[in-house]
């Protein structure tokens, strides 16, 4: 693997919990660009991220793992490609209570295909008890696309759940590197 910036991405539709996940593991108070949500059709929350969320985790030797939360609205898709460059991997968060979350997953699989194909992606499904979509449905769709990525039911307010996603991501990356 070439030397690269230690950059980890959190992606997913609006309200999936990207900001919360970053806050859960960041060593600094996350920098957020929240604004009034004018897209209530996508999600009912009052405020949403319109730029990037940013957090950091300090590593041994002073290095930093930079945590970027991408804006969920697809109109910001132009930013996704820019931020993706040099990323170590991605945690894709989905909201199972939304309409057709599997289709939402596919939007991100298309946009970040390079990361998905190199096993640098892990998927966390929030509110898994709500809605009728099961974890099995996500993995089946992944299989149909020739992808083998971990999918976990998570609550990103819990640090252990965010760490679970991170651990799976690191194990994936390491296993992929040893092929």
């Amino acid at each position: 693997m070439p030397a690269q910036e230690l950059k980890l991405l959190f992606a997913g539709p609006m309200g999936a919990g990207k900001t919360t996940a970053i806050r859960t593991i960041s060593d600094i108070a996350p920098v957020s660009t929240e604004a009034a949500n004018i897209d209530k059709a996508q999600h009912g929350k009052a405020e949403t991220t319109v730029g990037l969320d940013y957090g950091e985790t300090l590593l041994e030797g002073g290095e930093r793992l930079r945590l970027y939360g991408l804006p969920g609205q697809t109109r910001f898709e132009f930013m996704w490609k820019i931020v993706m460059k040099g990323a170590l991997g991605m945690i894709l968060l989905l909201d199972n209570s939304r309409d057709d979350p599997v289709a939402q997953m596919e939007i991100y699989l298309d946009a970040f295909e390079e990361l998905a194909r190199s096993s640098s992606m892990v998927i966390g499904v929030g509110r898994s008890a709500e809605g009728s979509t099961r974890i099995h449905d996500y993995t089946q769709k992944l299989q149909a696309r020739g992808l083998c990525l971990p999918v976990f039911a998570v609550d990103v307010r819990k640090r252990d759940d965010v760490l679970l996603l991170l651990e799976a991501l690191l194990q994936q990356i390491e296993a992929y590197e040893t092929i």
Binding site: E60, A153, L170, I173, E174
Partner: protein, 332 residues
């Protein structure tokens, strides 16, 4: 030793098929020399139904028997172990002429493990683990479903659809009950179709079986591999499982990540991860029960060793280790 240990006093029989007289004599002699070095006790036999058949690959009878053995067994009966023996290299699973004690010892050890596990499941079913009993039933030809009863609840496992039917939502408590209490399993055949449909109608919850099968595999394997899994074969995973409420262990995540990217034998997986054989057995059994463990072409040991070393010492490996350390990942 990987897999189940044979019960003390277990004696296995070994017969030769199509070998020349002097080779058979040499084999008998070596069995005597190795008497105290093998896990089980081994006896030479003339019986063609012996536990192990050492055969000449050029023997038509041996080949016919092999073909017969390779067919699925309706009864789930354990197959004989066949060991090829010839002057040309028969591969890692066979014996090369002239016979060598170390090679024979290796073959006997592998056979002991397989036979021991098979006897546990099939021959002494009351000692078989829940994982083994369930797998044996699901592997039995013509079984269309397995009814599973714990306490006053009865559910259905449908191997074709990989679904579980249960009277009510099966959460962590229900799964814990399944793996901790006495469970009764009963196979349903095509003749039971009406009964099956009736049972399905009575059960309100229908769910993918991953979480339940995973829990049964990792928790009830009693530290031994399923008889149908082979220490010498390489395995790969078709997909990640849904670990469900019980199986989110770091070891499972690490093993899954490895086996979704490369094929490894059980001993290679244990060596690559550093996890105990008991844990690896439970992991592989769970994958097998869930139905996404597939046999693959074996990978050379040299490649495996190099790859493992790379993951520990590469720049990427070092970086990942620093991230793990900072976040205290991989504690369990």
């Amino acid at each position: 030793m990987f897999n189940s240990s044979p019960k003390e006093g277990t004696t296995y029989s070994l017969a030769c098929l199509g070998l020349e007289g002097h080779v058979e004599a040499s084999l008998k002699s070596l069995l005597g020399i190795l008497r105290n070095k093998t896990s089980g006790s081994w006896q030479h036999s003339e019986d063609i139904n012996s536990d192990v058949i050492v055969y000449n690959p050029a023997s038509p009878l041996a080949l016919a028997m092999l073909r017969r053995e390779s067919k699925p067994k309706a009864s789930g009966r354990a197959a004989h172990i066949f060991i090829p023996c010839s002057s040309e290299d028969p591969g890692a699973d066979g014996l090369t002429l002239p016979l060598r004690a170390d090679r024979l010892l290796h073959c006997l050890q592998v056979a002991t493990v397989q036979l021991s596990a098979a006897m546990t499941t099939i021959g002494v079913s009351k000692h078989a683990s829940l994982c083994e009993r369930l797998d044996a039933l699901m592997q039995t030809r013509d079984v269309i479903a397995v009814s599973i009863t714990v306490g006053n609840k009865t559910g259905l496992i449908n191997p074709t659809r990989q679904m579980i039917h249960w009277p009510r939502s099966l959460e962590a408590d229900g799964i814990a009950q399944l793996i901790m209490e006495d469970v009764t399993l009963q196979p349903l055949f095509a003749a039971d179709l009406e009964k099956l449909r009736h049972m399905e109608q009575e059960m309100h919850e229908r769910m993918p079986w991953d979480a339940v099968m995973w829990a049964i595999g990792v928790s009830t394997s009693q530290a031994r591999l399923l008889p149908r899994l082979d220490l010498r074969k390489s395995y790969k995973l078709k997909r990640w499982p849904d670990f469900g409420p019980i199986g989110r262990r770091s070891s499972d995540i690490k093993c899954t990540a490895l086996l979704t990217h490369k094929s490894l034998t059980p001993p290679e997986l244990a060596a690559a991860t550093g996890f105990s054989e008991a844990r690896i057995s439970g992991f592989l059994n769970a994958c097998a029960l869930c139905g996404f463990l597939e046999e693959a072409q074996p990978m050379s040991r040299t490649n495996l060793a190099n790859n493992h070393m790379n993951s520990e010492t590469s720049i990427a490996g070092g970086m990942l280790q620093r991230i793990r350390k900072a976040l205290a990942l991989g504690a369990n």
